[in-house]
C-alpha cells in the first residue's frame, strides 16, 4: 500500500459501466444527508469500506452493529460512497488517490459528486440553485440537458470533492459535481432534498423527499457534531498550499 489508506471490497459486485455517487461530508452536509436518505429508502447492500489511518480512532454503532466510517454500497449497477466523518486535511491526497483509483477500476458511465455551495443569505432562499461542474465533454452534455441545473462558469472549490473532480478531469473520466446552494456550516436537509429531486434526470431511481423536509430540524440536531467537524476541516483546507503537479499525480 503506497499510502496509509485502502479501499476494501468485502462483497463481489457485478457491474457494467456503473453510476457512482459520492456524498463525503462537505458544505451543509448536502451529499451526506441526501445519500443517507437515498440509502434508507432504496435498500442498498454494503459491499466495502475505506481502511485508513487518517481517521481519528472512533467507532460507529448503528442499530447495535459496528459500522465503518467510510462505506461503499451497491445496488443495480449503482455504487454509493458515504462517510460518517469528513476527510481530514492530513490524509486528503492519499484518500482521494485511493478513491480515484477505485473509481477508475469500475470504469463508470458517470461519477456523481453531490455537495453544497455556500450562500450567505440561504435563509431567504426557498428554491436553491444547483450548479454543475463537469469533468469531460460528455459530462458537460449530460449537465446541459438537466433541468434546473446551471453550469458553474467561475468559482473556487476546496476540499476532497474538488480534488476528486480535478483528478477525474485529468484522467478524462466522466465526472459531474452537482453543488446546490446551501448553508455553509449548518446541515441543510432542504438543499439535500433539492439535489435528490434531480437524480431521476440521470437515470437514478426517484425517492420521496417530503419526509426529509418534514424532519429537517431533527436531522440538523442529529448531524450537528459531524457538521462542526466538517466545518473545521473545510476551514483548515482553505489554508492549504495550492495544489501542485506532484500532488495531483
Amino acid at each position: 500500500m503506497a499510502g496509509r489508506s485502502m479501499i476494501i471490497e468485502e462483497v463481489k459486485t457485478v457491474f457494467d459501466r456503473p453510476l457512482i455517487l459520492e456524498g463525503i461530508p462537505d458544505t451543509g452536509l448536502v451529499g451526506t444527508i441526501s445519500l443517507s436518505h437515498y440509502l434508507s429508502k432504496l435498500g442498498f447492500e454494503k459491499t466495502g469500506y475505506l481502511e485508513t489511518d487518517d481517521f481519528p480512532p472512533m467507532l460507529v454503532m448503528r442499530n447495535g452493529k459496528i459500522m465503518d466510517v467510510f462505506e461503499i454500497y451497491y445496488k443495480d449497477n449503482v455504487y454509493i460512497l458515504r462517510s460518517e466523518l469528513p476527510i481530514p486535511q492530513e490524509g486528503v491526497y492519499d484518500i482521494v488517490g485511493q478513491i480515484v483509483d477505485w473509481v477508475k477500476s469500475k470504469n463508470p458511465r458517470l461519477f456523481l459528486s453531490l455537495g453544497g455551495i455556500p450562500h450567505p443569505y440561504r435563509i431567504d432562499i426557498t428554491d436553491p440553485k444547483v450548479y454543475a461542474v463537469p469533468t469531460s465533454e460528455e459530462a458537460l452534455k449530460i449537465a446541459s440537458k438537466m433541468k434546473d441545473v446551471e453550469i458553474l462558469r467561475d468559482g473556487l472549490l476546496f476540499g476532497p470533492k474538488a480534488l476528486i473532480l480535478k483528478r477525474l478531469e485529468r484522467l478524462g473520466m466522466n465526472g459531474l459535481g452537482l453543488f446546490v446552494q446551501s448553508y455553509l456550516n449548518y446541515p441543510d436537509p432542504g438543499s439535500a432534498a433539492k439535489v435528490l429531486t434531480l437524480l431521476p434526470q440521470i437515470g437514478l431511481e426517484k425517492v420521496e423527499v417530503d419526509s426529509l423536509i418534514a424532519s429537517a430540524e431533527e436531522i440538523r440536531m442529529q448531524y450537528r457534531e459531524l457538521m462542526r467537524r466538517t466545518d473545521d476541516e473545510i476551514r483548515r483546507m482553505r489554508s492549504l498550499p495550492p495544489m501542485t503537479e506532484q500532488s495531483l499525480v
Binding site: 443569505y121 435563509i123 431533527e218
Partner: protein
Amino acid sequence: MEDFERFFDEMRVVFEEDLGRRRARRMGCVEPLYNIVESENEIRISVDLPGVEKDDIKLTLYEDSLVVEGLCRKETPSVRRLFKETPLYYSVRIPLPTKVEEEPAKARYYNGILEVILTKKKRGRRIPVE
C-alpha cells in the same frame, strides 16, 4: 497602528470564542453552530437552533458580544441517548467582529434558524467642507 489594533481584535475574538465554548460545556449546554456575515453597514448573525420554540429563545446584546440561549423541546434518537431525560439547552456567546449600535437590532426565527441583524457603529463622523 491600525494593523496592530486589528491583530488584537482578532486575538480577542479567538480567545473569547474559546472561552465561551468552554463555559457552555461546563454548564452542560450545547453550543449551537453559528455564522457571521458582515456587509458594509450590517452584521448578520445566524444561529442553528433546531427544535427550539421562538418563545424559548433568549437574546442578550452586549457591547462586544451577543449571547443566545434556547431550550430545545424536540428529541432525536441520538440526542435522547446522549442526554437521557435532561432537556437540551443551547447557549453561546458570540464575539462581535466590530462595535454595533444598540438599536435597531432585528431578529427572526425561521425553520430552526435564528437570524439577528445588527447595525455597525459608524467609526468616523463626516465633516462637511465649506
